[in-house]
Amino acid sequence: MFHGYRRGGSPALVALAAVAASALAGCSSLAPDAPSAEGVAVAFAAALDAGNATEACAMLAPGTVEEIESSEDTSCDAAVLQLGLPSGGQGLRAEAFGRGAIVELDNDTLFLVGDGDGDVRGWRVTAAGCEPRPERPYDCTVKGG
């Protein structure tokens, strides 16, 4: 109902609404931890370069592991080094929004998802070997189902 305000609303409620709106904007604009997403992406690429399949698979999101195992018909450990993922290199740019992140490395672009909460929050790689396509999603060698 809008009529009550014509007779003088509640300044306290209005002020509360204004403060809460600003607070909500502030909270949501706090970027999640993009540098740690970049760290995971670099570590994932380094594990692949070092031939450490177990370590690389441990950094993949569950859906991505399932997709690899389903399409390759073997375990992630056995398959991940054979997928032809590019050598990653150093991190160039990382952006994180909510529980999603994108990290550009020297030779690859990876997508990550934030898992867990608070102190135990961590990033898992959902897609790797990604190439941008105009007006379409990235084309990724590995991606979650």
């Binding site: 109902m1 809008f2 009529h3 009550g4 305000y5 014509r6 003088g8 609303g9 509640s10 300044p11 409620l13 209005v14 609404a17 204004a18 709106a21 600003s22 909500l24 904007a25 909270c27 949501s28 604009s29 999101a61 569950p62 859906g63 399932e66 952006e95 929004f97 909510g98 529980r99 999603g100 992140a101 994108i102 997508f111 998802v113 898992d115 867990g116 909460d117 608070g118 135990v120 959902t126 897609a127 990604c130 941008p132 999603p137 990235y138 990724c140 991606k143 979650g144």
Partner: protein, 223 residues
């Protein structure tokens, strides 16, 4: 007890607001965690959810439209009338009215607010304070919607392996304007229909209605 009774309307709306907001938080939290589980990820805490962009954008987009609705209604009824409506002044009385009507300056009453009795900037400010505050809350809420909406939109973009957009790109995006306009259209409809319904329909006992026996042509009378 008398204090509570004197403020019963704001109290009950305050309580209803908190209950509805809590309900929105809990149901949104459940939906979010269902998605987390189906993605094979860990569930988040309630605190984490209520400070997330997903929750913020849903709250802010409704707030901005409500405050815009009120601000516009207060402002437009200064200059536009609806014959027979309780929400309108009499046709012919359009405009901000005289100082006598407004009870300001030399026409102020002994118990008028101090800024109504003075002149200059303070009186001008106080004369427009209701719309100013409503518009300020609208702008802040809309800004909050755009900021939280960008984060939420980009989260979806990244989940579908698409590039994130900047705030400036999001502010002109179909997602932002779709969220905005779907709220605005319903608010404008509700206000417009209320102005017309109050011409012909009555609610006995409500100050928002004319007396039940008041003629349809009578404008601006409330029981």
């Amino acid at each position: 007890m008398r204090g509570l009774r004197d403020h019963a309307l704001s109290t009950i709306f305050g309580v209803l607001f908190l209950i509805a907001l809590a309900g929105q938080a809990l149901t949104g939290f459940a939906v979010y965690n269902e998605q987390q589980v189906s993605d094979g990820l860990t569930e988040v805490t309630l605190l984490s959810y209520v400070t997330s962009s997903n929750f913020a954008v849903d709250v802010a987009e409704n707030w901005q439209s409500e405050y815009l609705q009120f601000a516009l209604y207060i402002l437009l009824t200064v200059w536009f009338v609806q014959r027979g409506s309780t929400e309108s002044k009499e046709p012919g009385n359009e405009g901000p009215g005289s100082d006598e009507d407004a009870q300001v300056g030399e026409f102020a009453r002994p118990d008028s607010p101090a800024w109504a009795r003075t002149g200059g900037l303070r009186r001008t400010l106080y004369s427009n304070s209701l719309v100013a505050v409503m518009l300020a809350v609208f702008v802040l809420s809309w800004l909050a919607q755009s900021i939280a909406g960008q984060v939420s939109f980009n989260e979806e973009q990244l989940a579908s392996l698409e590039a994130p957009v900047t705030w400036a790109e999001y502010a002109v995006s179909p997602d932002f304007w779709s969220r905005t306009l779907q709220n605005w259209q319903s608010e404008f409809l509700a206000v417009g229909s209320m102005a017309v319904f109050s011409v012909y329909l009555r609610q006995r006992g409500s100050p928002e209605s004319k007396p039940v026996g008041a003629p349809h042509e009578e404008t601006g009378t409330e029981s």
